[in-house]
Structures are given as structure tokens and as C-alpha cells.
Amino acid sequence: MDRDALQVSNLKGAAAAIASGVGRRDFLKICSLAAAAVGLPASAAEKMAARVALPRKPSVIWLQFQECTGCTETLLRTSHPGAGDLILDLISLDYSETLMAAAGHQAEATLAQAVKENDGKFILIVEGAIPVKEDGIFCKIGDRTALDIVKDVASHAGAVIAIGSCASWGGIPSADPNPTGASGVPDILKGKSVVTIPGCPANPYNLLGVVLQYATFGTLPELDAKLRPKFAYGRVIHDDCPRRAHFDAGRFAQRYGDEGSRQGWCLYKMGCKGPRTHANCSLLNFGEVIGAWPIGIGAQCFGCTEKELAFRVPFFQTVEPEQLGPPGMYPSVNAKHGEVSPLATGLAGVAVGAAVGAGIAMTRKLGQEPVEKDGGEEE
């Protein structure tokens, strides 16, 4: 991005946004939220606001393959302050099969044009898995396989973001026995840097944060080994779970609707995958509705962000927590017991010493003079 072009203090664009129906307060708020989510300082929110207020908004191409459109739907259904609308105002969504009016050859032409116009600059967002078996014939758009499309478009993109578990690592389509060979974007675009935002669906704010950071600063957030932004996937659900205190105290719901379940106890025993699932669900509410996530409504986390868990490990099966408490917190099998006081040692020494000493002295005395008065009495 051309940072010099940014006019930080110029909020004219923001004013335009206000004019377009979004309140300035809401506008800044959503930018702050996105900035905070990515871990940028508050000043970055103003920069982001300034950037997206420019006439030329960041161009986004949104491709959909083997998916349920859940991620798009979630994005659109963020309610307060209408993030869906806002995102559409923040970016220039140049291609999206769900949202665009165009269809057929017209749509394909739009895609080609968008790629051409923003060659090397646009953000490619992929939703859905890509089948690779039989040369990818299981998913075709305009007579081109998904495999072909994604490779082609990605080669021109400035950044590639895989949203949702399907695009990130295969998701539901890749569940055993995976007849279509459904794969995630990183598996297809080997060698190209891809940001994955897994989740079923993914939290739209995590997407927003990444998009705005790239649009504003031209950088991508720091990623973990599975290409997930660390700001959102650095910790397991378990670490920040609102029910964590019940886990620590050993209070577990045994089954749906029982006493513990009604009391809001830990769901681990019912197979909650929180202890192994990396996501920020407990910290960043979906659609700004507090508690609107599985654990929040009394259902166990099923590990949607984790390839090893979701659609693989049975629902009610418990998992080994990723991080157990350090061993130092537990008593050792050889816990130390018993103490010796100096006073006791001294007393014992005096007692034994007196007995032994008196005995030896007596024996000596006896050896010298057989009849002797005033001797010690021993028990």
C-alpha cells in the first residue's frame, strides 16, 4: 500500500461514510475493534478509518467453492453496529457469488476484470474447500475447476485469506472418507503466503482485522504454524473460558440438563474440545451477541478450528488438554513428611549420652573400688 498517500488527519472520507448511512461513532468503533483484535494501538484505528475513507477502497475478490455460505452469512448477520454493511462499505467487494448481482458470463467477466485492474494488489478471500481428486472435477464454475480458478486468481493476488475451516484445511467436505479430496487453500497454493481464519463459521472480526491491517499497512499479522493469525488463535478456548473456574474446582456437568449443566459447570466431561481448540471465541463475541457461542449456550466446543478435532473426534469424547498444569502444582508421589527440631535432637543426645556416659563411668568405678556409695540409678 502506498502509505504516503494516506492522509491521517483527513477525515473527509469518514465524513463520506457517515453520509452513506453509517454513524461516525460506529465507524470508528468498528475500526477500533478491528485494530484491537489485530493487536494494533488505538491510533491505528484512525489510520484504518482514514484509509478506508479514501475513494479507492481495498479491492477484495471473494471466491466460494465447496462450502455452505455459512461464513458469508455470518459476516452479513453481524448486527450491531451493522458490521456486515460496514464491511461492504469499507472494502470494494469486486467479486462475490453470493452478493453480486451479475450472473453467468457477465460474472466471469467481472472476475477477470477485477483481477486485471488490481493485479498484485487485491485481497483474495477463499470460502470453501477445493476438491483435488479426479483433477478437481467435483466443483466447477463456468467450466473451470475450483483448482484452476484458485490457482489462477491467487497468482495475481496481493494477499490470500482462507476463511472458514473448509478453506483453511478442508472442513466438512474433507471429513472421512473425503470422496472428493477436499483440501484447504494452503494445500493448493504451496509456497504462497496464505492467512487462514478457520472456524465454522469463522468470526467476521478476525477477517476484518486481517483485511484492514493489510489494506492500511500492507502487512499481514503474525501467523502460527497452521497459518492462523496469532492474535486470534494464539490461545486455546480453555485458557479464557468463562467456565474455567469450574474445571479448576472439578465441577463438571455430567449430561445435558442435569444440575451441573443448569449451574453452568464445566462441559469438559461431555466432550468439550476447548482445552485443545485454538480460537478467541470466548473473547470476541459472534455478532456482538454476548454468549452466542457453543460453550456460552451450554453446548460443548467441538473444536471447529482444529483439523485434528472437528468432524473427526466423536462429539462426546474428551480430549487431553494441550497444557496441563505444571507438575510443580501437584504434590509429588514422594511428598516430604516429618521434621526434626534442634531441641529434640539435643534432648535425645543428652538422654542417650547421659545413659551411655553413666554406664561407662560406673563400670570404671566398679573396676577400681568394688564398694562405692552415691551412684546413679538406671532404669
Partner: protein, 394 residues
């Protein structure tokens, strides 16, 4: 076969030594108060790992063995029919009665729920015949009574001679009845120690998985029985020497000397059984593994082997210092064997350690002091010791 009759030693009771004992006993009494008010944890160094400490190992297990002088002497006089040892019986009975009484008292102090002890002899249907400890408890309780009855002629004698009219008439009427019953009581006094002293060995066979190989043995009952016998004889020698020195009573070096070979052979029997059994079971190697176990094992062995050699020699027959020194060594070795079987050889596992607390030691010391005090009071007031110059009793 005549010898000087036993007479009260008389004299002033409150000697400086006696007062010192009183001080120790008083400290023990204070410690006892803390134990009963605040529980065992406050007054002892015992833990859940080492649930038994010196109150059991010293006061009970060693204390009763030191009280076996009466048992050992009665065996000589009444079973072996060696009347010449008769003058040694009364003081030995007194030490035994005191030793066992204080052992029984120590049990009351040591058990957590002492107020229920009466249930042991009364609830016969509850008895668990698997428990060696039950056998010990019943025997010790009975034996305390038996010992005091065995000692009672001294008291009756004194009452008959110089008691109040009531005491005199009681002594007159009880004396003959006691005389008739005495053989059977004496026999009981011989049977009971045989039973419970061996059972004290059996007690430590139950936790065999926690016992060190050098002390655990299927022969523990037998070893404890032999051990209590030589400890009993050694106690007679030591006590006789001490009272002659401290109180000016008679010490028959020749008579005590004739006990020497018996002790010597008992010691050799003990060591033979111990080493033989260790060798037979292939555990003797543990005695050569450097460490505290081997060290204490050899200390015990030397403390018993050295006097065995001495006691079987000629000097022990005639020299008081040799007899006394050997007896002390036997006492030390024998006590150490019992103590080590109950404390050192018992290993509840890693992490556990035991050392008696100051209050715990004070209570044990207080009991020992009180015992000596009562002994001194009794021998000064009642006919226990022979004070005259010995007539040759051969």
C-alpha cells in the same frame, strides 16, 4: 541354702538424685498435659508414615523387655529349681512390675482413643485372633496384674510387721490364700511373657513389605523371646550392681557371676539364630551394603557378641566390673535390636522421616524417671533387697 532376708533399705528419700528425677518427671507430666489436651500431633514427632515412635519402641517394646528380669529369674528359680537365685527374684519382680506398669501407661498415652481400652478385655466377641497385637495387649494387661500379685508378698510382709491394724489384719487373712494360689500365678507369670514377648516380634512381621531384610525374619517371635531373656538377666545384673552402689545393699558377685554363662549362651543362640536365618534366606549380603542399615546391624551385633565372649570367660564369674560392663553392653545391644526392628528397619516409603519431638522425649524420660523414683521409694520402705553381707549361697 540360706541367705539374708530382704529388708527395707530405709534412709532419706529426697536425695539430690531423687530430686533431679522428680524434675524430669514433672517436665514429663507437663508434656503429658499437652498431649491429652491437644492430641498426639502436638506432642510427638509421629506422622502417618511413622505411626509408631519411641513411646511404642522404647516405652513398650524395650520397657517390657527390661521388665523381663522377673520372668528370667522366675524361670531359674521355679522351673529350673535353682533356689540360690531367690534373693534376686524380689527386686526383679519389682522392676518387672514397674516396667510393665509403665509400658501399659505408655500405651494409654500413645493410643489415640485411650478411653476405649477397656473394650479389649471385655468385648470378647470382637477379638481378632489374627492380630498379634491383641495377644500382646491381653497378655500385658494380665501380666501387669500377675506381676503385682507376685510382688505382693513384700507388701504383705511389711504390713504384717509394721502396718496399721487394718493393714495387719488384711495381711494376716490374705497371706495364706495368696500362698496357696501363688504357684499357679507364678506359672501364669512364666507363660504370659513367653507368649507376648514372642508376639512383639510377630507384630512387626505383619508390615513385612516395609521391613528391611536385616531385621525382618520369620524367626522374629523366637528372636524376641531369646532377646527378652538375655535382656532380663542383664537387667538383673545391672540393677543389682546399681542398687548396691547407690543404696549400699548386698551385691552377690558370685551369684551374679553364675548367671554369666547363661547370658553368654543365650547371646550366642540369638546371634546364631539371627545370622543363620539371614544366611539361609540369602539376606546376609545386605549387611555388607554400606549405609545406615549395615552400620546399625554391626553395632548391634558387636554390642552382643563382645559381651557373649566376655561372659563365657572366667573373669565374668568373679569381677563385678566385668559383669556390669558386659551387662550394659548386652542391654545396649538388646535395646538397639528392639528399637531398630520397630523404627529403623521400618520404612514406610520415600518422603517419610521420623525423629521424636522434644515433648515426646520428655514424656519418655519422665516415665523413666518416675519409674526409678517409685523403685527407690519401694525399696526404702518395703522388704525387697537384702542389705546384709552375703552368706555364701552355694
Amino acid at each position: 541354702m540360706s541367705h539374708a532376708p530382704a529388708t527395707p533399705v530405709g534412709g532419706k528419700l529426697a536425695t539430690p538424685f531423687f530430686n533431679l528425677l522428680a524434675l524430669v518427671a514433672l517436665a514429663g507430666a507437663v508434656a503429658l498435659g499437652i498431649r491429652f489436651a491437644q492430641g498426639l500431633g502436638a506432642a510427638s514427632g509421629m506422622t502417618d508414615g511413622y505411626a509408631w515412635g519411641i513411646w511404642i519402641a522404647l516405652d513398650v517394646v524395650v520397657g517390657t523387655a527390661l521388665g523381663c528380669g522377673g520372668y528370667a529369674m522366675a524361670l531359674m528359680v521355679y522351673v529350673a529349681n535353682r533356689g540360690k537365685y531367690h534373693p534376686l527374684v524380689r527386686p526383679a519382680m519389682l522392676t518387672g512390675a514397674l516396667g510393665y506398669s509403665f509400658a501399659a501407661t505408655s500405651i494409654v498415652v500413645d493410643v489415640g482413643r485411650y478411653w476405649g481400652i477397656w473394650k479389649i478385655p471385655t468385648y470378647v466377641s470382637w477379638w481378632n485372633f489374627d492380630s498379634a497385637l491383641l495377644e500382646v495387649a491381653l497378655c500385658v494387661m494380665t501380666y501387669v496384674l500377675v506381676l503385682w500379685i507376685e510382688f505382693s508378698p513384700s507388701i504383705l510382709e511389711r504390713w504384717r510387721a509394721s502396718g496399721t491394724p487394718g493393714q495387719r489384719s488384711f495381711a494376716e487373712s490374705a497371706g495364706p490364700r495368696l500362698d496357696r494360689a501363688l504357684p499357679w500365678i507364678i506359672a501364669l507369670g512364666l507363660l504370659l511373657p513367653t507368649m507376648h514377648q514372642s508376639s512383639l516380634g510377630t507384630v512387626m512381621m505383619l508390615p513385612y513389605s516395609k521391613m528391611h531384610a536385616l531385621w525382618f525374619s520369620p524367626l522374629l517371635p523366637l528372636l524376641f523371646l531369646v532377646n527378652c531373656l538375655f535382656l532380663g538377666y542383664a537387667m538383673v545384673v545391672a540393677e543389682s550392681t546399681l542398687s548396691s552402689n547407690g543404696l549400699g545393699t548386698r551385691r552377690d558377685t558370685g551369684l551374679l557371676g553364675s548367671l554369666a554363662p547363661i547370658m553368654g549362651w543365650l547371646l550366642l543362640l540369638f546371634l546364631g539364630l539371627r545370622f543363620g536365618e539371614l544366611a539361609l534366606r540369602g539376606n546376609l549380603g545386605a549387611a555388607f551394603v554400606a549405609g545406615k542399615y549395615a552400620a546399625w546391624f554391626w553395632v548391634e551385633t558387636l554390642l552382643l557378641l563382645a559381651p557373649a565372649v566376655v561372659l563365657l570367660g572366667k573373669k565374668a564369674r568373679t569381677r563385678a566390673s566385668t559383669q556390669f560392663g558386659a551387662a550394659l553392653s548386652v542391654l545396649a545391644g538388646g535395646i538397639l535390636y528392639r528399637f531398630n526392628t520397630y523404627i529403623l528397619a521400618y520404612d514406610p516409603g520415600p518422603g517419610w522421616s521420623y525423629f521424636p519431638s522434644a515433648l515426646e522425649i520428655l514424656i519418655t524420660a519422665g516415665f523413666a524417671a518416675a519409674q526409678v523414683m517409685i523403685y527407690l521409694w519401694v525399696v526404702r520402705r518395703f522388704p525387697v533387697l537384702s542389705s546384709a553381707t552375703p552368706a555364701e549361697s552355694r
